[in-house]
């Protein structure tokens, strides 16, 4: 059973590059302001979610283990 993820977007950083939507379309969608929003945190495998978070040029996507609260991305030096 895959672990549950908590995923959120920092709207002061998100510029709507759309890269997360292209990488993990099951999780991210651009909202009416063309910023990223999480539509389903379980919409892709964890690897895809992390790839999307890492692909963000603005480091605007944060991913945690929903049960333990452990930060999976970004690491402290990029946060």
């Amino acid at each position: 059973m895959a672990r549950r993820l908590r995923i959120w977007v920092d709207y002061d950083r998100c510029v709507g590059s759309g890269i997360c939507v292209l990488t993990a379309p099951g999780v991210f969608r651009l909202n009416e302001d063309r910023q990223s929003s999480v539509v389903d945190p379980a919409g892709e495998v964890e690897e895809k979610v992390l790839e999307a978070a890492q692909g963000c040029p603005q480091t605007a996507i944060f991913v945690e283990d929903a049960d333990t609260g452990q930060r999976l991305f970004p690491p402290p030096e990029l946060a």
């Binding site: 510029v15 709507g16 040029p57 030096e77």
Partner: protein
Amino acid sequence: MLVQDDLLAPEVLADPYAYFGRIREEDPVHWNDRWGGWLVTRYEDVVAVLRDHDRFSADRMASLVLELTPQDRDRLSLLINYFSKWLVFTDPPYHTRVRMLINKAFTPTSVERLRPRVRQIVDELLSQVAARGHMEFIHDFSFHLPVIVISEYLGVPPEDREQVKEWSDETSRIFFIRADEPDRRERSQQGLQRLLEYFEPLIHDRRRHPRDDLITALVQAEERGDLLSHEELLATCTVLIFAGHETTTNLLANGLVAFMAHRQQWDLLRENPSLIRPAVEELLRYDGPVKATFRWAKQDSELGGKAIGAGDRLLAVLAAANRDPRKFQRPDELDIARTPNPHVAFGHGIHICLGAPLARLEAQEAFLALSQRFPHIRLADRPLEYHRTIVARALKELWVEW
């Protein structure tokens, strides 16, 4: 309402913030007859234009072609062909395909691995001038850092760097330097031709002898067939070398000038190096390397109460948006602790600067080292002169002492 419509007038080049700031407050979406397009100056409108790539195209070549005679189109066919494959001048779906292909090489995570090497280059460059007590900051430092970093990352050998830089500068004439130069399109095409001739054998070499560099990665994408054509590969090499040059140089120079005008902020960074990340964001906002970015309207629309016609040209004035008091408190003050700082110095939307994470890293390392090694650095008593360009905020020289 405004008398001055020359975007290259001395006072506009010297202080674009005063000029574009006045437009932002008096006529925020402003028709400039002399340039022949709209100046978009409020934060909200700039973001609206940049994020709406369906209505506002970045395809500058499509717009340029309409301005050219058939003879000029023939004469400049090489330039048009390759520039129309530069990511910065393209729309989806081409933009999406190529951006996704090279995005991984420029993510914050990927470029973070370059930090030790960037730190080393900064250290070496500063060591060369330390005993001298003065330098021309651009020639001695801020020009070299980004050139060395992007050349190494791409795989351009050290002995070729200077030559490649010259061709890259020539290529950029069409949009950066001396916007009023009559033969700039021809010179731009000649520079591009030299760059293409230079990259062709380098690409050929990487095909036979793969290395751990970006050219090899692009070659391997090309070899898969469906990802990148040969012309697209060449175009991408030239745009990466070009984009890695001038803008970071100007970010460093403008940033140092900003610090010298706000000495207490310099001292604050010196005493609190952990502020370096927000500090670089604030330098980008306060006096970034790009004043404005070009779009054209693909359809009729309304913006800030003005009717924008299909085919109209627009300049999204990043410099004005970044000082918009509707978005930023005390916008004309440098505050290196400012958070959040949603500036648009790298653009907004799908064209957000690919190299932004690398530029940030280079600027962070440069200002950390400068503030620690030359805490008493100051501007020499010389006038600051900027290049005659609408797009770039580019000093000609910057003399400093310590």
